[in-house]
């Protein structure tokens, strides 16, 4: 009777192309997988499907004309994109922004962060089989988009900041509407948390999944919630306060385990802190102009500067190189947080199941518009 048993099916490793057209890749991301059964032996992200040559376009346009292009990087959270770019130009030209403009920028940026995290929560939960949070988060996200629309006329690609300030004064009644939303919003976060935080299935799908240690996270250049989830207390708003972030109080939440569940908790707390920042900004909103005295034609000195903001996804930086009296960037490089965070994906999913790959892509919170530029 002895002798090797015939395997019932092929035991060879299988190659699987995950995406680029797959709902849980959050855009046109393709991951080439080498699978042993359902176990991921190797994952190789393939990107570039959304490449539009944004950095090349920056070189053709004046500083002000560049701002709409930044909207289209991380199109989920346009305010922070605008903010990073105008901060870089302001640093280069030595412009001081009036306090009212700074506060409006911070309100918009934090609303953008909440909106981005709400979209992340909705899609991440759907990926893992929880459909209900989507309906709740989009209810609140709608209010934020309405606020954006009332302020600047657009809902996603806002183009809501200028070099030297913001283009518009807040419309009548906007502060009250925003204030009413911020008052009730923390109770909605509790609502989402009752659905997920102690949910047994949610915990099974996220605890211990996609673990990355603090040292590895730093070596891979992770920023934002993926870095903080691993226990590194590091936030650009605290480390290099831009606009008037040094005048508001907020906490930087961190995780411990560096897994998908901790990153979830970090983002939930970040939404609360954002609401807290907006509350303080609305209460203290200074009077005064919303634009600094800025020359009509922006002429830069020769040099290179880097300015970064804490975008919802991580550190979003703009590296500007200019020539003497240049009206356009000679070179503008974007440091997109998603691009660099995604790089750690193969490391985080090695040896896990295909279903966990979906969880890890969700937890990295990538936006392909920013990755491919």
């Amino acid at each position: 009777m002895a002798g090797p048993l015939e395997p019932l099916f092929d035991l060879e490793e299988m190659e699987l192309s995950f995406g680029p057209q797959h709902p849980s890749t959050h855009g046109v991301l393709r991951v080439m997988l080498r699978l042993d059964g359902e176990k991921v032996m190797e994952a190789k992200p393939i990107i570039g499907y959304l490449h539009r040559g944004t950095e090349k376009l920056f070189e053709q346009e004046t500083f002000t004309q560049c701002i709409p292009h930044t909207d289209r990087l991380d199109y989920i959270a346009a305010p922070t994109n605008n903010q990073g770019f105008v901060l870089a130009v302001e640093k280069l030209l030595g412009i001081t922004v009036p306090p009212r403009a700074s506060y409006i920028r911070m309100i918009l940026a934090e609303l953008g962060r909440i909106s981005s995290h709400l979209l992340w929560l909705a899609t991440h939960a759907i990926d893992l089989g929880a459909i209900t949070p989507f309906f709740y988060t989009f209810r609140e996200r709608e209010i934020i988009l309405d606020l954006f629309e009332e302020y600047c006329g657009a809902r996603l690609t806002l183009n809501a900041m200028r070099v030297g300030g913001v283009p518009f004064e807040l419309p009548d009644g906007w502060v009250e509407k925003c204030s009413a939303f911020i008052d009730e919003f923390p109770s909605h976060i509790d609502e989402y948390e009752t659905l997920l935080t102690e949910n047994r299935i949610w915990k099974k799908r996220t605890v211990g999944i996609g673990v990355i240690s603090a040292e590895e996270a730093i070596d891979w250049g992770l920023t934002g919630p993926p870095l903080r989830g691993s226990g590194v207390k590091w936030d650009i708003r605290k480390v290099f306060p831009y606009d008037r972030y040094d005048e508001v109080e907020f906490e930087v939440p961190i995780g411990q385990a560096g897994d998908t569940y901790d990153r979830y908790l970090v983002r939930m707390e970040e939404m609360r802190q954002s609401a807290r920042i907006i509350r303080q900004c609305l209460d203290r909103l200074p009077e005064g102009p919303v634009m600094a005295k800025v020359p009509k034609v922006l002429r830069a000195p020769e040099g290179m500067v880097y300015a970064s903001v804490e975008a919802p996804k991580g550190e979003l930086g703009y590296f500007l190189v200019t020539t003497a009296k240049g009206t356009k960037p000679y070179r503008c490089h974007v440091r997109p947080p998603s691009f660099i965070n995604l790089q750690a994906l193969p490391e985080m999913v090695k040896g896990s199941l295909v279903a966990d790959l979906v969880a890890v892509i969700g937890t990295l919170d990538i936006v392909l518009g920013e990755i491919d530029r």
Binding site: I47, G53, P295, M304, F319, V321, Q343
Partner: protein
């Protein structure tokens, strides 16, 4: 700055002048930052001492220190800064096409961060059009995709890189888009959007096109 002429005179006489509040910083004419000497920076001078011939010059601009480093020494310099000066975090790596220039056509830019005192430092190395740069993937893992992007966009080869493939364009793409001589409108890659001959099973059906031919 032509609009400066429009500013009203500071003394328009009469009783209004003393009541005028002092100008706020955002009402002043912006003063751009100036270049200064960066060689006195602690880390730059330490690097110059530790890695011989590495630092060529250093510049301070808008609160940022930029050190020009010799191309052959760049990986060594980065390793020293990471291991001895604890610059554990590579924030950004990119390149600039400087066109015709004596030192070489490209600048490769490294932008690193130290967590202890939240300090950032920039290294710049000049690279000729046909020269290669030692990779820093062995120093920071995150440099992997950043170097691939620079290779894709500028055609700069990083020596010793484990997987130097194109990343944003596709394998076989002809050209490097962020070079200054690459046309903004793009190039004809040969990949037709509406090909004349469709592969079997793709493209419009025969019935749909038949009517148009008859008309």
């Amino acid at each position: 700055m032509s609009d400066e002429k429009k500013t009203p005179e500071t003394t328009d006489g009469g009783a209004a002048a003393p009541e005028k509040p002092p100008k706020q910083p955002w009402e002043e004419k912006p003063v751009p930052p100036e270049h200064g000497d960066g060689t006195d920076d602690e880390d730059v001078s330490a690097l110059a001492r530790a890695v011989e011939g590495a630092v060529l010059s250093a510049d301070r601009f808008a609160g940022e220190v930029t050190a020009a480093v010799a191309r052959e020494r760049i990986a060594e310099a980065c390793r020293y800064l990471k291991e001895e000066r604890s610059f554990a975090f590579l924030v950004d790596l990119t390149a600039i096409d400087r066109g015709d220039r004596e030192e070489g056509r490209f600048d490769v830019v490294y932008w690193m961060h130290r967590f202890d005192d939240q300090k950032r430092l920039r290294l710049v190395t000049a690279v000729g059009g046909d020269e290669t740069v030692p990779t820093v993937t062995g120093v920071w893992k995150t440099a992997n995709w950043m170097e691939r992007e620079v290779y894709d966009m500028f055609g700069i080869v990083f020596e010793g890189h484990p997987n130097l493939e194109r990343i944003l364009t596709w394998e076989g793409f002809n050209g490097h888009p962020l070079r200054k001589d690459f046309p903004v409108e793009g190039i004809d890659t040969g990949a037709a959007v509406q090909p004349d001959v469709y592969p079997a099973g793709a493209g419009p059906e025969a019935e749909e096109t038949a009517g148009k031919e008859g008309a």
